[in-house]
């Protein structure tokens, strides 16, 4: 039983922490979110070339640092502390996960492009009708010679406005919600037949509604095997959930620290409000939520390579804890900041907003309770 990090992992954390401190301070982040593009491709290049972190979870013979999920966890936590918007989750964790585990004709080349900072990815899986069911798909990919023709509509594709490539889940056979018949594709974002409607999200990111009209895909677009994509999708989204847990930990730690700082400085009735026991206990409760979120993130990250069932149970348990913590820590941070917590001007509100979105990403607390319950207690009634 070992919860220590290696020297390389500690160095990785230091590298990312320094980057966030020096090049991604709060004013920089605010300016990025307000800008027309909404992100900094030049900083992405810094991450690739100067920091070398985009290769963190990839094997050395593909040009990576030889790490895995724990390294993603470290990067995501440090990014969470600075509310970094650049698409590490979509590119390195999600696309990287699909390419690593699914293989496919282009995977080595695309992984190389990820590590080099040339390619960014967005994961287009959700649809207007499907809620959190990954298999609920009306987007279809009909066989067309050796390739496919893609038609359909994807909802709230985070990072799509910045992406050079999309990872798309589509149905190659079966009924709308069948487990069998799901296939994963990699699609260039500028392929003919793709229409996007870009917009900002409440937590400072950008997303799109994407329409696919007869988009032609070659056989090399397939990741994993045709019709058998769902287990791969479930595995990679579980990896993303673990990474999001880490981002949430970073964001919650920061919101918590800001709250303690504020409470110490803010004087009412002649004393700092941090001297009020009710608020002290609340800040203690925040601390407990954060610590348990750290524990559950470690647990889920370390179980990502277990059997499907063990992994799903672990990840759902973690998402339930993270979701509850995000709500409690976020709400408490605002409450203790009082009126100031309600302003757009202060950073704490933005941490609250990101934590709120993480609550629902890849499944709400209820969704994961249900998945956990099914696995742990047998079929849900």
């Amino acid at each position: 039983m070992d919860f220590n990090f290696t020297d390389e992992q500690n160095m990785l954390r230091d590298t990312v922490a320094k980057f966030v401190q020096n090049q991604y301070d709060w004013d920089s982040r605010r300016a990025i979110v307000k800008s027309a593009a909404g992100w900094r491709p030049d900083l992405w290049k810094v991450m690739a070339e100067e920091l070398g972190i985009l290769g963190a979870p990839f094997s050395e013979d593909l040009g990576g640092l030889g790490g895995g999920p724990v390294d993603n966890m470290i990067v995501m936590e440090e990014f969470g502390k600075g509310l970094v918007v650049e698409p590490y989750l979509g590119t390195v964790v999600l696309a990287g996960g699909f390419l690593k585990h699914g293989g496919g004709a282009q995977s080595a080349e695309l992984i190389g492009s990820i590590i080099g900072g040339e390619a960014t990815f967005a994961f287009a899986y959700a649809e207007p009708q499907g809620r959190y069911n990954l298999a609920d798909l009306t987007t279809t990919a009909k066989a067309d010679g050796a390739g496919f023709v893609l038609n359909g509509r994807k909802a709230v594709v985070v990072g799509a406005p910045w992406a050079s490539h999309l990872i798309v889940t589509a149905r190659t056979s079966g009924g709308q919600r069948d487990a069998k018949g799901v296939t994963v594709f990699v699609v260039p974002a500028d392929a003919a037949g793709i229409t996007r409607r870009d917009y900002p999200t409440v937590d400072g990111l950008r997303a799109s509604e994407i329409q696919f009209d007869n988009v032609k895909l070659g056989a090399e677009s397939v990741i994993g095997t045709v019709d058998n994509g769902l287990p791969l999708v479930e595995r990679v989204t579980d990896e993303a959930i673990a990474a999001l847990g880490a981002e949430a930990v970073g964001a919650m730690r920061t919101a918590h620290a800001m709250t303690i700082d504020y409470a110490r400085q803010r004087k009412q009735f002649g004393v700092p409000i941090s001297s009020f026991q009710v608020l002290q206990h609340r800040m203690v409760d925040m601390f407990m939520h954060v610590e348990q979120s750290v524990s559950m993130t470690y647990m889920a990250t370390l179980k990502l390579d277990e059997s499907d069932e063990e992994r799903k149970k672990a990840v759902s348990a973690a998402k339930v804890q993270i979701g509850k913590a995000c709500k409690f820590v976020g709400q408490s941070a605002i409450q203790i900041h009082g009126g100031m917590g309600m302003t757009d001007e202060l950073a704490v509100g933005h941490y609250f907003k990101r934590c709120t979105m993480i609550e629902g990403l890849f499944g709400s607390v209820d969704h994961h309770l249900r998945r956990y319950e099914t696995l742990s207690l047998g079929e849900a009634a």
Binding site: A126, P128, Q129, G130, R131, Y132, N133, D136, A155, V156, V158, R177, R197, Y199, P200, T201, V202, D203, A207, E209, K267, Q268, F269, F276, V278, L279, K327, Q331, I334, Q335, G338, G339, G341, M342, T343, D344, E345, G349, F352, K353, T356, M357, G360, S364, D366, H367, L369, R370, A381
Partner: protein, 397 residues
């Protein structure tokens, strides 16, 4: 004991329901549905219709223009307004400064300010909170120094709701810096067009411009704009705060909020099961409805003692605490029901763009509303302060 409304009350309910149905402006409905920020005239549209009918100030004595309703009738009125999703009448004039003026003001002050307050011609803002005076309101520092027939006012107010539209403001100012803090405060009415008054927007978490900073730099205010005695303004403030807290339970509006969640839950499905039939989600709705019922009957008991002549007491803090917690819970469930479409934020982007909502109508404001409503446990006396009030004033601890 009985829970029935009288035949007269039921007839009253039918009358007011019909009035709202026939008189509420359709144009206003459209603005509300759009969910964008309302303009000054939108806010005033319903006010003016009610003022015309004599119904805009249900709690005012008839001698000042009130309709002479019983407390049960006022309760029925607020239920019917909420049921019809009418926009709330702004409280600053009708519920706050108006009662202060008719209770503590001179005949001249009443004549000068009450008609405009009633008609909507005077839009009021509340100059109370300061950067250093939130929960500790008595710690306010804005000072008013006497100069002949004027006060010269200097200071900064914050969190001033809708001051960007205000014609006048009622301000708590320090007129005696040497007195014990609550004893040196005066209640001043200030014309927002006075030289030296600057209003600056504060943007809040959902992107709204609802509140402001109000900077006062050598503002000359006639002494005749002071309500009640110099240095006795805290008496007016306490009176006003007690009135601010009743009506804050918001039961009828929360019932509508739960209706809207149920409506979303009928259309949002996962795996072919609408959320309204999902065992986890429907349980949460049931628990919320029960919580709201507890609040409703507690409010009715408060109403009954008010009818018997008792004024609003510290128990109203319970109504504020539970009322706001339920309001917040409603916004949580609505955001949850929205699923993925709780994430897009299309306000003002692109600046020259169509600004059409992304996803279902019911979903697109769930996140900004959830963020905005975190204010309810903070404003009007934070829920922590409200618990202190109950602890001290009700439990004697």
């Amino acid at each position: 004991m009985n829970l029935d409304f009288s035949a007269e009350d039921n007839a009253f309910r039918a009358e007011v329901r019909n009035f709202i149905e026939t008189q509420y402006p359709q144009a206003l409905r459209a603005v509300q549905e759009e969910g964008e920020e309302m303009r000054k005239e939108d806010f005033l549209a319903w006010h003016r219709i009610l003022a015309n009918k004599g119904w805009v100030a249900p709690a005012w004595p008839t001698e000042y223009g009130g309709p002479g309703w019983t407390s049960v009738q006022r309760y029925i009125w607020s239920e019917e307004c909420a049921r019809a999703d009418t926009i709330p009448i702004l409280p600053f004039g009708i519920n706050m400064v108006g009662p202060v003026i008719y209770t503590f003001g001179t005949p001249e002050q009443k004549a000068k300010f009450l008609p405009g307050t009633l008609s909507g011609d005077i839009w009021w803002c509340q100059g109370y909170s300061e950067p250093g005076a939130g929960s500790d309101l008595a710690n306010l520092k804005t000072k008013a120094e006497r100069d002949g027939d004027f006060y010269i006012v200097n200071g900064q107010k914050t969190w001033t709701t809708l001051a960007q539209h205000a014609d006048w403001g009622f301000f708590l100012v320090r007129t005696d810096p040497t007195a014990k803090i609550q004893e040196g405060i005066s209640f001043l009415l200030i014309d927002m067009k006075s030289p030296g008054v600057t209003v600056r927007p504060i943007i809040t978490l959902g992107g709204e411009h609802e509140v402001n900073e109000v900077w006062l730099e050598n503002v000359r205010v006639p002494v005749e704009n002071r309500i009640f005695h110099e240095n006795k303004g805290w008496t007016c403030a306490k009176f006003l705060l007690a009135h601010e807290r009743t009506g804050i339970a918001g039961v009828a509006r929360s019932k509508r909020g739960i209706d809207r969640i149920k409506s979303m839950a009928r259309t949002e499905s996962e795996d072919g099961t609408p959320l309204i039939r999902d065992s986890f989600f429907k349980r949460k709705i049931a628990e919320l409805e029960i919580d709201l019922t507890s609040l409703e009957y507690t409010e009715l008991r408060t109403l009954a003692s008010e009818s018997a002549g008792k004024g609003p007491g510290p128990e109203s803090s319970l109504l504020k605490i539970k009322g706001t917690e339920i309001q917040q819970r409603i916004t949580e469930l609505a955001l949850e029901a929205a699923g993925h479409y709780g994430m897009p934020f299309f306000r003002g982007f692109p600046e020259d763009g169509a600004n059409l909502p992304i996803g279902p109508d019911a979903a697109h404001r769930t996140a900004p509303t959830y963020f905005n409503m975190r204010k309810t446990s903070i404003y009007g006396g934070s829920n922590e302060i409200q618990r202190n009030i109950i602890s001290k004033m009700v439990l004697g601890l």
